[in-house]
Symmetry: C2
Subunit: 210 residues, 2 copies
């Protein structure tokens, strides 16, 4: 599994790096999450400059995509060059997840369809304005499209990709590793409990997305 973690100027560090770092626990199994950006470097909402590992064209090539969040998403959601790249994503062959304001961007691609979605409290009015029913919960998925709300819910997007692209053992191992010492079971169970109700039925789940 190669995963594009879409990271734009003004990005929220939690949203991009929690997902990427948890998914990269699977690197010994050949997985790799890549910071994926339209420019060679991007600077976070708090002024941290990061080098992109992949360009935006990778969004249509990866096995899974996580659309990160940031303070400039409303502008990016009006950028035709970005949107035309993102509209080449295909949930028939890719897992696509969006985090916080990433949900706004996902809704603009048209790929969200009439699904309800999760987002953060700041972005919520804009996502509602875009015609989406916003859920008061951290995570929701329907088929190969998932959304999460609240920075630390990026754990759950990562868990969803691990469950869908790998299996429960992979998800448990990665979540257990990153969880606080002494609270590991609690963290693993809460993450799985937030995500598992939205997995496809076993017969459908057996068809891997990628």
């Amino acid at each position: 599994m190669h995963i594009a973690v879409l990271t734009f100027d003004g990005f929220n560090e939690l949203d991009s790096f929690i997902a990427a770092s948890i998914l990269n626990r699977q690197r010994p199994k050949g997985w790799k999450a890549f910071i994926t950006s339209p420019t060679k470097t991007v600077t976070s909402m708090n002024g941290v400059t990061v080098e992109a590992e992949r360009g935006l064209e990778f969004a249509a090539q990866a096995d899974a995509v996580i659309i990160g969040s940031g303070t400039k998403t409303r502008d990016i959601a009006r950028d035709d060059a970005v949107l035309s790249q993102l509209r080449r994503m295909d949930p028939a062959r890719q897992l696509i997840g969006a985090q916080c304001s990433g949900t706004l961007l996902l809704s603009r691609t048209g790929l969200l369809g009439d699904r309800p979605a999760c987002t953060d409290l700041t972005t919520k009015p804009w996502v509602i304005e875009a015609g989406v029913c916003v859920l008061d919960q951290p995570f929701f998925a329907d088929g190969n499209i998932a959304t999460a709300g609240g920075c630390l819910a990026s754990q759950y997007l990562a868990a969803w990709v691990l469950l869908r692209g790998g299996g429960e053992e992979d998800a448990r191992a990665a979540l257990h590793y990153v969880a606080p010492v002494g609270q590991k079971e609690e963290y693993v169970e809460r993450a799985l409990g937030s995500v598992q109700p939205y997995l496809p039925s076993p017969a459908v789940g057996a068809k891997r997305a990628a």
Copy 2:
């Protein structure tokens, strides 16, 4: 409050960015957490290159320091140039926290003293070898020195700095913002519950570290 988030080559993205990002929620109040490194750029354990915002000399100047973690900490803990910078830190005027393998580095500075400490499961044998009693819990603090174990326990280091340098209202606001939608109270209470037993008594707490 200016906070140095010590970030070395091979760093764990979760450990540096969760703490920095939560602390930067206080930027409207004049706080700023800075990615602080011995070189102009550092590359994470997963290959992400980040530009440093401050050099290592900032570790002795900041109001608070968080020593991040990474895959090269055992080598860094033998680097006299790094250690001599870190030995200029002073818990009499700074809050000093260490995350996961950062605890090993903290123990080498001599500043940990005979305190027990938290670290991750991988680093644990090396910290024990360094003569430290390792606790099976996510967070511990004694006076102005704190340690945390397990990547996501970096929330608790951030909460500790917010509680000590700001107050409970600041800590609650930052933790509430970053927590998953629908689970915010649970996250805030667990973080405060993990940290508050290790705050100084109110009379001592009134003396701000910085």
